[in-house]
Symmetry: C2
Subunit: 240 residues, 2 copies
């Protein structure tokens, strides 16, 4: 009982941050704006993402990374649509690494921090619970799903099979003790950094994996957009 | 015009086969039967898959690979439910390779053959068109989607980052000229064969890739099952 109470308080007393990375400027979808601002279910993708974190923990401190050139536009959207939740905004950097580095300036030294793709609006409460809960024990937690397909690498001379055993696809939110992530982001940039886990690992950290969620898709194509729109409409999903 | 007419007739005159691989015996989902027999939208997954091929081409010759121990059960299901479409059944072999080998006994020497996972019931008509159309030009066609996540390989000592550039996830249907696939399947078995493309490649064939479809999921977990069920219900999907 004492242990339970301890965990109960440890869970709620740990200050939580979320860095939502939405600094992309790409308009490859053939739309008039970067994909994090496209609407599904009548609201921008980014807004869904922010709301998911707030629904999970109203006290979470959110830092949204936006393209510098779009900050005014986003502010205006929020004002007009009455989306007046409290969160901070920082400008995107040259790469994702630099964007997260910017955001970490606003993260304190105590507690834990989730780094999440702005274009993953379907993250579920159980996934947030799994990752934030595991970070109490481990310093660095990432969600991953097994690869069930054959995998190939396409090069200039066609493609070749990649060994599949043990392969997993890594999602976000990736959740860290703030001191672990902040220390890792003091390293110089390397193009080998594909996500936050790779940054922490390069700094000597150990990564703990928890089960991801197949619904937690990263919206990168028009098909993904329509899939996300469909999934949002499903009652079975909105209850998650 | 002459070229168009030629292609038009070549397209419709090429005999088509589909090998639907549903030989798995696994009941890992905690159900009372292998996953290809679980129901979504009131029908077994395998039935959806068969119906998709028949809707695309009523003249297609279908060979379904089933676990030997489940053939009677499936026959009985079909009889009782009035699913009396014409297709052949063969028994699954020791591995997927041996299952396909069994099925190819029933495939003629002319035309083209799709090999498809029985647990991918959401394949779309455009995907069937893309693969069957490309095989008129290339001997071996596979659908693939780019990897948008970080990729790791989990080993005994934790996990490590896998280079992501050029990585794609390979789906089915994989479609081949029948003579290409039949020749490739005369090779001795190797555990390196993860799909039909890898068999053809080991026999010296060249693989042509076409865009896959993110909806075309392989049902392997209870979450996939509920996702597939949801997607089937969507009108936007059933129109595809």
């Amino acid at each position: 009982m004492i242990i339970f109470v301890y965990h109960f308080f440890a869970f709620f007393s740990m200050k939580r941050y979320a860095v939502i990375v939405a600094g992309g400027q790409g308009v490859r979808m053939g739309a008039d704006r970067p994909k994090q601002f496209l609407e599904i279910g009548g609201k921008p993708i980014l807004r869904h993402t922010i709301e998911r974190f707030l629904a999970f923990d109203p006290g979470i401190e959110i830092i949204v990374v936006l393209p510098a050139s779009r900050k005014d536009w986003w502010r205006e959207y929020c004002r007009q649509s009455g989306f007046l939740e409290r969160y901070s905004m920082v400008s995107g950097g040259f790469t994702r690494f630099h964007s997260v580095q910017n955001a970490l300036e606003l993260v304190g030294d105590q507690g834990c921090v989730a780094v999440h793709d702005g274009v993953r609006p379907l993250l579920s409460r159980p996934l947030l619970e799994r990752t934030f809960s595991a970070v109490r024990t481990y310093g660095a937690v990432i969600p991953a799903v097994p690869v069930v397909e054959s995998v190939r690498r396409v090069g200039e001379e066609g493609s070749e099979i990649v060994r599949r055993d043990g392969l997993v696809l890594v999602q976000t939110p990736q959740v860290f003790r703030t001191e672990v992530l902040k220390a890792a982001y003091r390293q110089p940039f390397s193009p080998a950094f594909t996500d936050d886990a790779s940054v922490v690992e390069a700094a000597g950290g150990t990564i703990h994996m928890v089960p991801g969620d197949r619904f937690n898709i990263k919206i990168t194509t028009p098909e993904d957009l329509s899939l996300a729109e469909d999934l949002l409409r499903l009652s079975s999903f909105s209850e998650r």
